[in-house]
Symmetry: C3
Subunit: 452 residues, 3 copies
């Protein structure tokens, strides 16, 4: 039994090596053949995207990892298992996405944009992980990752390459898919008696501050996330500005609702940690479109409200009525805002005119009609955008159901109810001896302790 | 009463949406019209400034936010209210600064440099917040932000556009203005009986380490701060080098003084957390000038000394004699080093010769004499630099006085003295049940606890 | 006695100012003379390297600083003394490396690549610091830094400029040299009775999470470290990709071994914090070579195994049998992986063919044969790479021995055995009064505490 995790890690890593050996090579921006193209180095795609890549990388590992450390005794699992999951997911995503998008003459050729896309795919797994945090074993997480990366890549191929929908920041392919996939898995892995034993499912003062490290790095670097694979030039700049605006507005409405729904007008940390990010999720699809700064503010405004109300009313309802336990509230942070983002994208695309996009050429460029081979009318493009939402949801529900039942097989070392949300099952947790812990407090006056 | 904060956040955010809708549009670097200019994408200003922008963004949200988490029971307020303040300030700053500096044909046009400048303006509010940390309510903070951003923008317009002073990293407009504004407000909001009840105004071991996250991100990214809006090419490079040098020297003199003033030669965390940053403040004005690496070291050398001595002797003096309570010691970190920075800038400008700046053209470029319309002599430019200090101080004192009295109105939910420096008033703090907290300590031996 | 640290900091900083004044000037990319070259600003080296520089900067200060905060009562020392050390080391490294590599007409001319190289040199001191963490005084650390930076620069000059070995990410010059230098010093400073009193040499729950901040920033930014001074264009892109791959593979094998060697199959935090990084160390030499993505995966695969086994079996063996106490396990994280990296580099260089490197020109460019003045055969280059390992080891052992004995002199305020791993000797640690600390726990029910 205890050999499951080592074996899974070993065998899968060897499989990665073999598949990389057979398939993965450097693309032109990363190989010595670059010199033969006589292109100046400053035109290498690396320099347009590498700073954004590093920001996205921080979001995946520190952002998601630390966001989940809010649990009082699951900090190792949050940051450590997210690390393990992501390290596997980026490798498998480079292969899966490569077969669909970067396959040339029998080889997957990779450059910096492949690294970014692999991180994006990993984000969707990190989102789903938030729904089942503390309730699955490391092996279950690895199995879920294997399947989810696969499904993500197929869905992405359908939505982007077949439907020709635009989704630069992934409201549909990353957030909607990731959240509803994770929720479906969480629903199938339902633990009816978990509620009785959830005193570990809370935060302590310092764990809430650790979590803010994750929140802030996600919030600050989100403009890089949504602009990382946008068009060079004005596209990347506009995507960054739109995301910046949406996120700023989202903070104010999150605070407003958080204070409004509390009887004493106080703020709740879980809202600040999560709902403030909903604005970034919801401009993912439309980030590089002409959403306009005020349009972005409106999107953020709405999402702060929806997300915070979700944490307040919907999460308890889902938990008690639908038996859907969502540890990090991914439905509020990624599910609903992701859907809103898809709709915003569809509407913005449908409303696009040549006038606003700098002439027909601008419109053709923005919506990649050249790749498509013909020019769609804006309303048709809006329809295909909407179809992208439906397809992502379908992949999430069907895929999540299948994967959920696979994870239910009693061979993955699922933790018992009483061990949920506790690092002690999968980690050697430092023993905090009473003497050690109390030493600091008793250094001045031992007597005070005995007679409080 | 409890509706104040939700209403302020809601109404102000709606106002932002309306004003953005009326005024804010993309500038040429961010709009599809970019393609019509036939400029290569790698010449888009976005690529010269975006990496620095992201670094500055981290300084505002993680840097200032975590720097203030040193208080043992005010971590939520430090990082959370800084988040709220900054999210509002960047929106209002885009408007205020836009009206003064980016107004074209009735519209504010924005690109990446507007985002940087908005972050800069927000830094001045974060500085002032440090002076009143733990003593004002969230609504007071929002009101202060509204006025301070306004005053900042007017002062910046006078100093930069009218006096034509150079202030790339904002020693005068950000640090001097921000610190003395905050100190004036803190002085007017004086709480005479706070001293008696300040056992909460200290740190614990882990809160001091959280604070170092803020310190280090500020320290590491300060070269980006001072170079973010410098000239392309050698200007940005020189500003980064000067800041790097000044900050390095500042660490050594901070440690020297911190150890020298302690009876046992030990180091004090508050010095390491704060005074090590004074070198970055003090090269703000002269960062892109020919300060020379050794000149930067000298500036950092002096500021480490001045700032640490300030924490040791001046802060207690101000508190006890002038009744000026300065929670984070902003006078030592931003006030005095900001003034030094202004003076260094004036002297460096006055000493400028065509020889050092690569000929007359270099001198004209550095001091933006083209925009000015005529060429000043270096000593005249030095005089205008000095005038910039005086104007910033005047705005700080007069503005701070007016805003201080506005904040004194008994309608903003100011916390009672006994609730200062305590998150529990404005936040739902996780209840740490005795059983929970002690579980870790008593897991091995319950008896030891009762008989220490 | 208590004046040692202030005097060292003061005098050395003054020496830096004098030496910078005599020697250090801006290079062409950072001086107004840049405009006279008529080179477009986007070709300034600053824009190719500055984003990577900032990532490397974060690795030195937050990465190494926080990685070492795992000790329960040495957090201030870890992050604070690393800060002091690094602030001095970067200045001294700019001088030392400048004399060897950037000396023109009697002056050291600096640009962004000098800042990166200074950070690299500092990394080697941070590595050595990990071996003696908690066992030396701040003054000893400063003395060690002075000598180690000097030795590093001479070794780097021999390996890079004389042997003409390639070492972009420093497997040999940074990691191998740094680790074995630090281990030699640690061995000479051996404290035979330390074992008896090492209850402080452990972690607590939150200190392990703080440490993960360091781990993750090192892990995420390592692609920038290894690509920061590579060739523009495909060189930087390839170095980033190789490092990304190696690090990903390393995480999976670290987890596999960590779980396999534990009796209950649990994971150990010290492995996740450290061994996951070994893959970055070991592609340092070959990062910009045609190692291929699968080659990088293999390197990471091996290093995760070697490093984790090292923590499990070798560290206790060295400690008990060889009396070599290695606080952070630098032998496992930097020593062995650094040697592997040197060997990987030698083999990859020896196997280089014109075919793979895009023709003879590519080979000449990659191995800098132009600078060398003649074209070596690949096997000869491989031999010189191997010689680079040997030279780095020799410098480490001989230099470490000399510096170790210097540090043994009884004039540097070395802490007593019982004060090791405890901040209280060199820092004013906040007093956590029993009342304060217990207040949170007893707020609901005082009685429970007295009768647990």
């Amino acid at each position: 039994m205890r050999w499951r995790l080592p074996l899974v890690c070993f065998i899968w890593q060897i499989a990665m090596i073999v598949l990389f050996g057979v398939f993965v090579r450097y693309d032109i921006t990363s190989s010595p053949a670059w010199a033969l193209t006589n292109t100046p180095d400053y035109e290498n795609d690396f320099y347009f995207r590498y700073p954004s890549f590093q920001d996205v990388h921080v979001m995946i590992f520190v952002g998601f990892g630390f966001l989940m450390t809010f649990l009082k005794r699951y900090g190792f699992g949050s940051v450590g298992l997210n690390f393990l999951m992501a390290a596997f997911a980026i490798q498998w995503a480079i292969l899966m996405q490569g077969w669909f998008h970067s396959f040339e003459k029998g080889k997957i050729v990779i450059g910096v944009s492949n690294l970014i896309n692999a991180d994006f795919c990993t984000a969707s797994v990190a989102i789903a992980f938030g729904g089942v945090l503390g309730k699955i074993s490391p092996v279950q997480l690895m199995v879920m990752t294997l399947f989810q990366v696969t499904l993500f890549s197929v869905n992405e191929w359908v939505v982007i390459s077949k439907l020709h929908a635009i989704d630069a920041g992934g409201s549909m392919t990353i957030h909607t898919f990731g959240a509803y996939f994770g929720l479906t898995v969480a629903w199938i892995l339902n633990r009816p008696r978990l509620e009785e034993n959830n005193d570990k499912e809370g935060s302590v003062y310092h764990s809430d501050i650790f979590s803010m490290i994750g929140t802030l790095f996600l919030w600050m670097y989100w403009p890089s996330f949504n602009s990382a694979i946008s068009y060079h030039g004005d596209g990347q700049s506009r995507a960054a500005i739109n995301t910046y605006c949406s996120l700023a507005a989202c903070v104010l409405t999150t605070v407003a609702i958080s204070s409004a729904v509390d009887k004493k007008g106080r703020l709740l940390m879980v809202h600040i940690q999560n709902a403030t990010l909903a604005g970034g999720v919801a401009v993912g699809t439309a980030a590089e479109m002409m959403l306009m700064p005020y349009g972005s503010l409106i999107v953020g405004f709405i999402c702060g409200i929806v997300s915070t109300l979700g944490y307040t009313y919907l999460t308890p309802f889902l938990s008690s009525k639908l038996k859907l336990h969502d540890t990090c509230g991914i439905h509020n942070l990624h599910g609903m805002p992701g859907l809103i983002g898809g709709i915003v994208g569809a509407v913005t695309a449908a409303a696009a005119t040549a006038d606003v996009y700098g002439g027909d050429e601008g419109l053709i460029k923005m919506f990649r009609y050249e790749e498509l081979g013909y020019v769609r009318s804006s309303s048709i493009q809006g329809g295909f955008q909407a179809a992208g939402i439906a397809v992502s949801l379908a992949f999430a529900f069907v895929g999540g159901t299948i994967v959920g039942f696979i994870l239910k097989l009693p061979i993955w070392g699922e933790p018992a109810d009483e061990n949920c949300f506790d690092d002690v099952v999968y980690w050697e947790v430092p023993e905090e001896e009473p003497e050690d812990a109390l030493k600091a407090y008793t250094v001045h006056n031992n007597n005070k302790l005995g007679s409080p």
